[in-house]
Symmetry: C2
Subunit: 262 residues, 2 copies
DNA sequence: CAGTGGTCTAGACCACACC
DNA sequence: GTGTGGTCTAGACCACTGG
């Protein structure tokens, strides 16, 4: 119904507009099924590829996803809070070892993670950030993190091999005293960190590993920590699917953010 | 050439893989033109739609873009640094009024911006953050920011009308003492801020306004500032095209970031 | 005007999950 | 099996921009 030719807006756009509106205003709720391609073909009286083109627009906007062979569904837009700096805050000495696990449990969800430790020649961007020499190796602790059984993001922590050799960091278990404490025990107290956030579409590898549907961007969040001598001691690479997270920073004291200041 | 049928990987995937590899390893440099659809059709011996499907994959990965009627081109992957907290740092009393303008000039680029001020019934998310009553209005200063003549992001600052009524914030010019100083003059010193970063695909409106090509995600960066009485006094909505920015936070003192902590 | 990508049609065969 | 979306073909007409 109701597509008109010879209007400036193309047919696929008109179809996409109508469906988009319904998704955004809640007429079509999150998780509900859209009409099948066949039904849309009949409703609008157009060719299959035109319907598919219209649906592809919404898929790439992140609004809907195809679940073959069940149909197209409205995507879930709820997000979990991701607070990179949460452990900058004061913390009881009853040391919780892993902020991810403890925070999410407090939120009433069931967190879990897999850990895999290996010694690698790290990717170039990490090498730069850790200021490693060409042939210098690093230890990486790769984690995949789950909430209520569902994979939500990956977290890879790289350490220069030279400073973690023989420490508990090299064992593939949760670190009971925590990685920071372990680094501090080795004489490296982290006093400064730089966070970088890149927003982009995932590589095919990432899409596969994190099970991302088309139309899902990611945040690549890299944290590089420096010790009291301003040497980089850790670089963490997080890949966060955009549809599942809000990144939150809280800033106390002093002046404001971007915009007109002073 | 060299696509094989009856392999597990589809033809369009094989074509996309080959081109992607060339883009990523630099064989095809940023800004260079890809073969036209017609040429690819001949090279691979497939139908036009198959070639178009392959190219669409790369477009949606953000690697290439179509510039009609010139052809497909490898996208630029350089990014500018965006530092939300840059004016948290100590600043000389020789008050630079706008961090965007001053920082970018220092970086040897030519920044400019348009400013548009209006009184509006703000969108729901902003209303919540400013804790406005249902019928309460806000002043919005909408900026579009350019670098070397090219639009790079939008910055909309919302203020509760009640606290900025009659102040210089309501005039559509650069604020010489700065917005924060102006707020402080009115008795509202910002002492705390919350940053939220949402990563998503742009709405069609945003895509048009910021001239985004398909395959470009955005970061929606919302900063809400609170005064000494913990009242929200400003909420800033930035829309940053993912392909043009790195968001950077520097954190001094204390403990580390995400991951296993002490 | 020629060449580009954008839109649209009408068909075909396939893999997959569910009944 | 039946119905779903995924892939692929072979054609057509269009709008735009550059030479």
């Amino acid at each position: 119904m109701a597509v008109s030719r010879s209007v400036s807006r193309s047919v696929k756009q008109q179809i996409a507009d109508e469906l988009r509106e319904q998704v955004l205003n809640g007429t079509r709720a999150e998780g509900t099924k859209l009409p099948s391609e066949a039904e849309l073909i009949e409703q609008y009286g157009v060719a299959r590829n035109t319907v598919r083109d219209a649906l592809a627009l919404l898929v790439n906007e992140g609004l809907i996803e195809a679940r073959r062979p069940h149909g197209y569904f409205v995507r879930d837009r709820r997000r979990m809070q991701y607070r990179p700096q949460s452990d900058l805050r004061a913390r009881p000495t009853t040391a919780p070892h892993d902020t991810f696990l403890t925070e999410q449990e407090q939120a009433g969800r069931t967190p879990s993670q897999t850990i895999e430790v290996s010694i690698v020649d790290p990717p170039e961007p990490i090498k730069e950030r850790l200021q490693l020499k060409a042939d210098e190796l690093a230890v990486v602790r790769r984690r995949l993190r789950y909430l209520d059984g569902e994979l939500i993001y990956s977290n890879d922590s790289y350490y220069p091999l030279s400073i973690v050799q023989g420490t508990p960091i090299m064992s593939p278990h949760d670190l009971s005293p925590g990685a920071n404490q372990t680094l501090a025990d080795g004489g490296h107290v982290q006093v400064r960190a730089i966070d970088e956030i890149y927003v982009r579409m995932p590589t095919p590898d990432e899409a596969k590993r994190l099970d991302l549907t088309p139309g899902t961007p990611v945040a690549e969040h890299i944290i590089t920590g420096y010790d009291q001598d301003d040497r980089p001691v850790r670089s963490v690479l997080n890949i966060l699917p955009g549809n599942r997270h809000v990144i939150i920073y809280e800033r106390d004291g002093l002046e404001p953010p971007d915009g007109e200041s002073a």
